[in-house]
């Protein structure tokens, strides 16, 4: 309910202040842990507590990144991985949504396809790698398809369970107004499943990162996954760690974008 409080009481102010202080503490500790970790790592490498050749160090990683940046290699690799990831995620999500709608539409189809989906879900998709390479060639296409394969089932399962959670009375209500099945999908099932779709997107993004790196491990001439594998092969751990750190940052950034998107969706729906 909208209530306008013009005068904030003292007790309320104390409460707000305490909340703010806690928030500040949480933020400070979060960054503190990261900085402490990096500092210890760097110190450990400087004072030879750890072998920087095997474990690398923040300084060496920065140096590697600088070199990569200056040659323009870094942006190219990041761009390749991001592009593959976004393509795979997009097609995986679209296909998952479409399949979920089809299975919601026809109960018979859902029953028929159920064992296939169970097996496809249980199958480690990486086992399909060689097949993909033969079919798609060793390039972007195989990686995108791998990403799609890894994300599509999770998206399908999450969205479909959202669809099936819609109260049947809501459908009855709509049908009593004379709504067609398409109306039901459009007016209740899809809008009612937006929270499920948002969580499917979040899961799908995570799965797509897995897919794209797995794909790049298998076949690639560029990308962060390629850098990691290449670095491992030539024993340049600085490169492996630097690429991993970039991957972490990208995943975190994408998570932040998703969280923002989720908040926007919630706001427009009054949640």
């Amino acid at each position: 309910m909208c209530m306008s409080i013009n005068r904030v009481s003292d007790a309320q102010q104390v409460f707000l202040r305490r909340l703010k202080r806690q928030d500040l503490l949480v933020r400070a500790c979060r960054w503190g842990i990261l900085l402490l970790f990096l500092a210890l790592w760097e110190l450990g490498a400087q004072f030879k507590w750890i072998d920087a050749f095997l474990i690398s160090s923040p300084g060496r990683m920065l140096l590697t990144l600088k070199t990569l940046m200056e040659s323009g290699e870094l942006l190219r690799h990041v761009g390749v991985t991001l592009w593959e990831m976004i393509l795979g995620f997009f097609f995986g999500t679209a296909l998952g949504l479409l399949l979920a709608m089809a299975l919601w539409w026809s109960n018979t189809l859902a029953k028929i396809l159920d064992p296939y989906l169970v097996v496809l879900n249980a199958l480690p998709k990486i086992a399909l790698g060689p097949v993909l390479i033969v079919w798609m060639g060793s390039g972007t296409r195989a990686i995108v398809v791998m990403t799609l394969l890894i994300s599509v089932i999770v998206t399908l399962a999450t969205v479909l369970s959202g669809f099936l959670e819609i109260a049947p009375e809501k459908l009855t209500l709509l049908r009593a107004f004379g709504a067609s099945k398409w109306d039901c999908l459009r007016m209740v099932v899809l809008p009612g499943s937006v929270p499920a779709i948002v969580s499917a997107i979040k899961l799908g993004i995570g799965m797509s990162w897995v897919g794209v790196i797995v794909g790049e491990f298998l076949v690639s001439k560029a990308g962060l996954g390629y850098l990691i594998v290449y670095g491992g092969q030539v024993f340049k751990l600085d490169l492996v760690m630097a690429a991993t750190a970039i991957l972490c940052t990208l995943a975190a950034l994408m998570y932040a974008v998703t969280a923002l998107f989720e908040k926007r969706v919630r706001d427009t729906r009054g949640e």
Binding site: E169, K170, A176, F177, M187, P191, G192, V194, G270
Partner: protein, 242 residues
């Protein structure tokens, strides 16, 4: 009318016949699980009878009819739509959302004391207000005949009495007919002009009682004869607690 499942078939309705006249308020009173809701679903065109016919204005109902409004036990408001958009839902489904019908929704919202909440979301409303929105949604399509499936059962006692008054007033304002399903004797006597008592499953009509009481549902509850009707129906219903 039969229901089928793996264990076999269950007869829900057998040789059942009833009629609701224009402008009439009829209540179906029966024990839980006797088939009351099935009768409503048949009337709403959501189910087709295995044999027999359901007619509205002399025409057989084969799909949810245009002149019918259906109000469910729970409001079933869509949490992602504002009160106004929820109220417009039926119009939107039927593609009747014009200027005139929009005015109608606003008038109804005002009549139900919801004008200030038109842009609020259902989550922000109390149970009684939510059910009022559901009523507006039902009336927005201007039905001649309303089906009420225990529309007050999910509300607390005070809200229930208040809302019964409002619903009755709004329904009868434009000479609409209504068929109320309930297992609450007092509710039936206070609202209806005629109470049809049903037997256990398969439902048949045990008795039809004309209620000759004047006034709003709340006023009726205070009348001496209200008690008589109540006692009579209680005996008819023959409730066993087991």
């Amino acid at each position: 009318m039969y229901y089928h499942d793996l264990a076999g078939e269950t007869a829900v309705l057998q040789s059942f016949s009833m009629k609701v006249e224009r402008g009439e308020f009829v209540a179906l009173l029966g024990p839980s699980g006797c088939g009351k809701s099935t009768i409503l679903s048949l009337a709403a065109g959501l189910l087709r009878p295995d044999s027999g016919r359901v007619l509205l204005r002399g025409e057989e109902i084969i799909a949810p009819p245009f002149h019918m409004g259906y109000m469910l036990q729970r409001d079933q408001l869509f949490p992602w739509l504002s009160v106004r958009e929820n109220a417009r839902l039926g119009l939107r489904v039927r593609g009747m959302l014009g200027e005139e019908s929009q005015d109608r929704v606003e008038t109804l919202l005002k009549a139900c004391g919801l004008a200030d909440f038109a842009n609020a979301f259902p989550r922000q409303l109390s149970g009684g207000m939510r059910q009022r929105v559901a009523l507006v949604r039902t009336l927005a399509v201007d039905p001649e005949f309303l089906l009420l499936d225990e529309p007050f059962s999910a509300l607390d006692a005070q809200t229930r009495l208040k809302l019964a008054d409002e619903v009755k007033l709004l329904i009868q304002a434009e000479g609409r007919a209504a068929l109320l399903v309930s297992h609450d004797i007092a509710e039936c006597v206070s609202m209806a002009g005629k109470v049809v008592v049903l037997s256990k499953r398969p439902a048949r009509i045990k008795r039809v009682v004309e209620i000759e009481l004047e006034g709003t549902p709340l006023e009726r509850r205070g009348l001496p004869r209200f008690r008589e009707y109540f006692d009579f129906l209680w005996k008819e219903l023959d409730v066993h607690v087991d």
